[in-house]
Symmetry: C2
Subunit: 379 residues, 2 copies
């Protein structure tokens, strides 16, 4: 087992009706809040009106920044931070999925400074403080609600990168599975792919920890049990609750303990697909992971077979890869580039960007030939 530090101070409030206690908790941090949300799904599903009424009744003064995109942009973060700074807000309330909460995390450390949030991503600046952040999760997928990570995209520099700081843990996160009922089957499936991919990235990382492996198998097996039921029953409370909890546990640091870090190569490759073609994050991962396992079937053969044995009960590398592909397809998340309308004429553009961004993991480093093989496997 490798040395590790495990620290996760986010308070997770999970279940039916937990939002009722939210105003009491927010008010500990102040009465003026910056509400951050996305492109309007909270308006179309009716939650926005309910929330505004709840906040008004509790006497909060609300400054709004809506319109965060699903592959969130640093330009939005900078604009929201400028607003929060000029309005001198006490606390941030982020309502949404990964993109909204990731953005709000970086807004929280950008409000106290006078430069672009991107300076944190390029390590030109280091955050020293953060405006307290409360999150309400509306989409089970990224695990951002209980971790110190945030991914942003910079259209100018053509990069999509992750950032990590202990300052950006949400203070409290509220997870009511009923709030995810309106997520369509497609995005529900991408979320399941995302959470499984998080488990796999840590699984294929450096170092050995048998308990972390077991926790990883636990989460994947839970998703295998509940995922297919959920996509058939989008208003099933138990189904929504199980997948929502799986997604949180899949990337809240737990499964990285005793190892010296995950691989994260597939995420690095997937970010390029999102950047170039706006492919939903989870969809990019379900396309790439099986293809990636095929490329690294020799180097990672034992690990792939052990994974399959402990999840799908498969025997050997080939069966394992096929089981993941079949599972992903079964829940409705793509496994080929053509499924998201990216045809072979786009391969060179993807390849060039992978090479330019050095898209690789900490353990598994694709060569140029591997990149080509990967594209061919995704065809």
């Amino acid at each position: 087992m490798e040395n590790f530090t495990y620290y996760n101070p986010t308070a997770l409030h999970f279940g039916k009706g937990v939002l009722d206690k939210m105003p009491g908790i927010i008010s500990k941090y102040g009465k003026k809040l910056l509400l951050v949300y996305g492109k309007g799904s909270i308006k179309s599903n009716g939650y926005y009106d309910k929330l505004m009424q709840q906040l008004e009744e509790a006497g909060f003064q609300v400054v709004e920044y809506g319109g965060i995109k699903s592959n969130p942009l640093v330009e939005d973060v900078d604009a929201a931070a400028a607003l929060g700074r000029s309005e001198n807000v006490d606390v941030i309330l982020a309502v949404g999925g990964g993109s909204v909460i990731d953005s709000a995390k970086i807004i929280s450390i950008t409000i106290p400074v006078q430069h672009s949030a991107w300076d944190f991503y390029t390590y030109r600046a280091k955050p020293k403080s953060a405006v307290p952040l409360i999150a309400v999760l509306t989409l089970a997928a990224t695990g951002t609600e209980m971790n110190p990570f945030a991914v942003l995209q910079n259209e100018k520099t053509g990069r999509k990168d992750g950032y990590s700081s202990e300052l950006i843990f949400p203070k409290h996160s509220f997870l009511d599975p009923e709030l995810t009922y309106s997520v369509p089957a497609s995005y529900t499936a991408y979320g399941i792919a995302d959470l499984i991919a998080h488990c796999l990235e840590n699984y294929f990382g450096k170092g050995e920890c048998t308990l972390s492996d077991r926790f990883i198998f636990s989460i994947i097996n839970d998703a295998i049990e509940w995922g297919p039921r959920l996509v058939k029953n989008l208003h099933g409370y138990e189904e929504r609750a199980a997948i929502m909890y799986d997604a949180t546990m899949a990337l809240n640091l737990l499964t990285a303990n005793g190892k010296s870090g995950g691989d994260w190569g597939v995420h690095s490759l997937g970010h390029i697909l999102s950047l170039l073609f706006d492919v939903p994050h989870g969809a990019s991962l379900s396309i790439i992971f099986p293809a990636w396992m095929k490329v690294f079937r020799d180097q990672a053969g034992d690990r792939i077979a052990f994974l399959g044995k402990n999840t799908f009960g498969t025997n050997g590398v080939q069966e394992t890869i096929e089981a993941f592909e079949t599972f992903f397809r079964g829940i409705g998340t793509p496994t080929r580039l053509s499924d998201v309308n990216i045809n072979s004429d786009k391969h060179e553009a993807i390849l060039a960007q992978w090479i330019r961004n050095k898209a690789e993991g900490s353990c598994y480093k694709p060569t140029h030939d591997d990149y080509r093989q990967l594209l061919s496997n995704m065809e």
Copy 2:
């Protein structure tokens, strides 16, 4: 899945040499510390001298309270709190196993008040603040290093009870598996029994959460894999590390998520054995758990069989109970009262105290006949 709140702000520093960074972390809280430890094992194994030198070099002023007993007494807690209060310490450093760290937790909330710590246990008083607590774990067993629980014994009232408060989470816990090398085989085995019992208490609790069940099986299976190797190789780093990490995860709230609480009946029964006959905590649990499963084999039959299937790969209730007994015996922790020299002439005393203290769980309530059957099963 039941509603839950999951909050655990303890920073866990795990691995070889992690104690080197301890002084830097303690000094954030102040320079005057109350050092709490047990009956001298840290002196006999040489760690005490090393620690004192480390603290002295870092410029700490150290006030000492040693001699905490293995079934810790409220009298010691009150005396240590009086010392910490009069010396106006900034921070508490607890070095030891469950009894020392549990005591230090209650000392941390008793220093700021003027009454006995027992008033918290009887709910006559509620803690409002705590002196920051740093823990160094020297025995893998109770999970106290990363939870808000503390068990104390009151000799006057004849009770041994648990207490919980968010104020008593250690701020930081340092877990170096090498520090547990000197724990003898017996206490190593009791620790393994304790961690498995913690998993079982949550497993037999109210509510259903498939992921929590899976995490529970993960921890038990990890202990089944590493426990027998460890008792044969007490200086094995990987063995010590695995069991130490298992013990922390077995009772750091994780496995209770999505349920409305564990049963805790076996703990309640076991505390009486410790109280009356000073039976080591873990030993009391390995004696009682199989006997308890036999008593509740009808009520909890499906759960017992499901547990066995997912841990020892057994088929049915009887095989499962036998597998646990065989495992416990194999690592050297007792499964019968006679193993700890408690003969049948003591049964009436145990029975009377169980009845007096209403020793039962939140789900499974033994009748007087059940108590008698339990004693008979433990013979």
